[in-house]
């Protein structure tokens, strides 16, 4: 088996580690989201929802715990969408020519860059979980050690497929474009609807139908669902909404993300086969 994608992965991780500003900012940024947005919003939301009568017999989860899952998802989305950017720089600076003129099969470039993007998302997700728990998010509450480990594995599995999907998309866009500014524009355009038409920061139950339709085909919604299921449980209430997940829903969410990643890979593969770099 050709392990050429590991070469691409190695170089991208080397650069990630070497650019200290990139390394530190990408590690600190999710923690800052938790520290500022999380605490500020949770104090507000908790005030609004404290007047709602809780459903009897259903464990209540505070807003910080609720949105911590969303912050993991959001960070994964951003990191993955920008993960292909390095390909665009490689292309513009001529470095891609070395790779394109080598015998390395082109899908290995996609795999390599996806693997390093996924690794970065794993690191960030773990930082958010640890930091979130430190500032009071009730993740894995009442879990045994084994249950906690399984839950973390489950979360990382969801993060993995989700990030692969968006990394493939990002790679496809990067190899098709000329300018980093253009890519930045497209990314911003994509992140808005994906992030806000999802259940990351608030429930989707009260959305108008059109927005709800978007949220149903939004991969971020399925990632958040997966993370909440593993981190919080299959039956809880938050912000006055009763959340219940059946195993079928979770399997469906996972398969939806797998399907999304497969389609995105097909697009990236097509773009890479057509790409000419001189």
């Amino acid at each position: 088996m050709h392990l050429g994608f590991l070469t691409i992965f190695w170089r991208d991780m080397l650069r990630f580690y070497r650019f200290k500003t990139l390394l530190i900012s990408s590690l600190v940024q999710p923690a800052l989201w938790m520290a500022f947005f999380g605490i500020a919003m949770s104090s507000n939301f908790n005030r609004f929802t404290s007047e709602l009568p809780p459903l009897p017999g259903v464990p209540t989860v505070d807003y910080l715990t609720f949105m911590a899952a969303g912050v993991i998802a959001m960070t994964t989305l951003f990191t993955s969408l920008f993960g292909g950017m390095s390909l665009l720089f490689d292309k513009n600076w001529g470095l891609m020519r070395e790779i394109f003129a080598s015998p390395l099969p082109r899908n290995h470039i996609i795999f390599g860059i996806a693997l390093s993007g996924m690794t970065k998302s794993f690191i960030q997700a773990i930082i958010i979980m640890v930091f979130g728990i430190l500032i009071g998010a009730q993740f894995f509450f009442g879990y045994t050690v084994i249950e906690t480990v399984l839950a973390i594995v489950g979360i990382l599995l969801f993060v993995a497929v989700f990030s692969l999907g968006f990394l493939f998309l990002s790679a496809a866009i990067a190899i098709s474009l000329e300018s980093p500014e253009g890519m930045q524009g497209i990314m911003t355009l994509l992140t808005m609807p994906i992030f806000f038409a999802s259940n990351a920061l608030y429930p989707i139950d009260a959305f108008p139908p059109a927005l709800q339709a978007v949220s149903v085909i939004n991969p971020l919604t399925y990632l958040v669902t997966g993370i909440r299921y593993f981190a919080i449980g299959d039956d809880f209430q938050a912000i006055g909404i009763h959340y219940q997940f059946t195993p079928f829903q979770i399997v469906f969410a996972f398969l939806f993300l797998v399907g999304f990643a497969a389609v995105m890979f097909a697009i990236a593969w097509w773009r890479f086969r057509k790409a000419v770099v001189t």
Binding site: T7, R11, R97, E98, A101, S102, P103, L104, V276
Partner: protein, 328 residues
Amino acid sequence: MTEPIISVKELFHQYGDFTAVDGISFEVSEGEIFSFLGPNGAGKSTAINVLITLLPLQQGSATVAGFDVVKDPEQVRESIGIVFQDVTLDRDMTCREILEFHGNLYKMPNAERKDRIEELLALVQLENKQDTRTKNLSGGMKRRLEIARGLMTRPKVLFLDEPTIGLDPQTRLRMWEYIKAVNREGTTIFLTTHYMDEADHLSDRISIIDKGQIIATGTPSELKNTLGEDLIYLETSDGDGTRKILSGMEMVKHITQKPTGIVAMLNGDGTKILPMIIEALSREGIRVSTVNLKKPSMDDVFVHYTGRELRDEGAEKPSMAVTRAGRR
């Protein structure tokens, strides 16, 4: 010297309606240094990009190291090394990492890769820079590192696209030494350049390429000999009369009109012919005001074949240069 190591037949390449390569055919023998000499925008880089499989072959055929660039691009890639026109080094990787990365792209086994890196760092004298990031290297060191990288996989053919562009004269001389040393080890070298002296100094054979076509091929001395043994330049009181007299002389092979004078290619030794010419002119009452006698250079060869000087075309026709650069 059996099969040619590069064989190109009737190669065409177009960008939109601009024909960059207009039906070129040539062969390169194993072990030689072969050059494409031509101005910027002549189609040199396009031709090289087709041979190294970065551009699809549109029309014609090409084999490199015995493999067809269309049918066996993988094998072509495994057989060649490339030094690109502009620097293609990751600024934030060290010299050693650059070579490691390259060896891994080509699936070199670990032990062989390590040995080869030591060998090449020594060859290009970068041993004490191996842990330096490439952004801290001088222009000449970057070029040397790129040559080392091109040689990592012991290629049969090394492609060098404008290898000394932007280097100072001393560094150029040293680069030429490296290129010759690499060639002596048995690597065939395919070079593009727009420097006459570089093509003249390095090449076993040169193809002069202009506007996408090969207009002459030969060894440097063959090319220069087509211009005769010597060239003389004359400024006289009567240009037309001078031309008439010169064209009647047997030892004058060819006459070219210049803005202020005349260049004549000679069949024989200029030091003997020149006095005869001056005598013949004075018999007709034509005074000679300026005289220059020289051996033909590659510049003269280029002027002879293309009818113009090989300068950076950008200086004369900026708009043209811009569109060509954009297309490359």
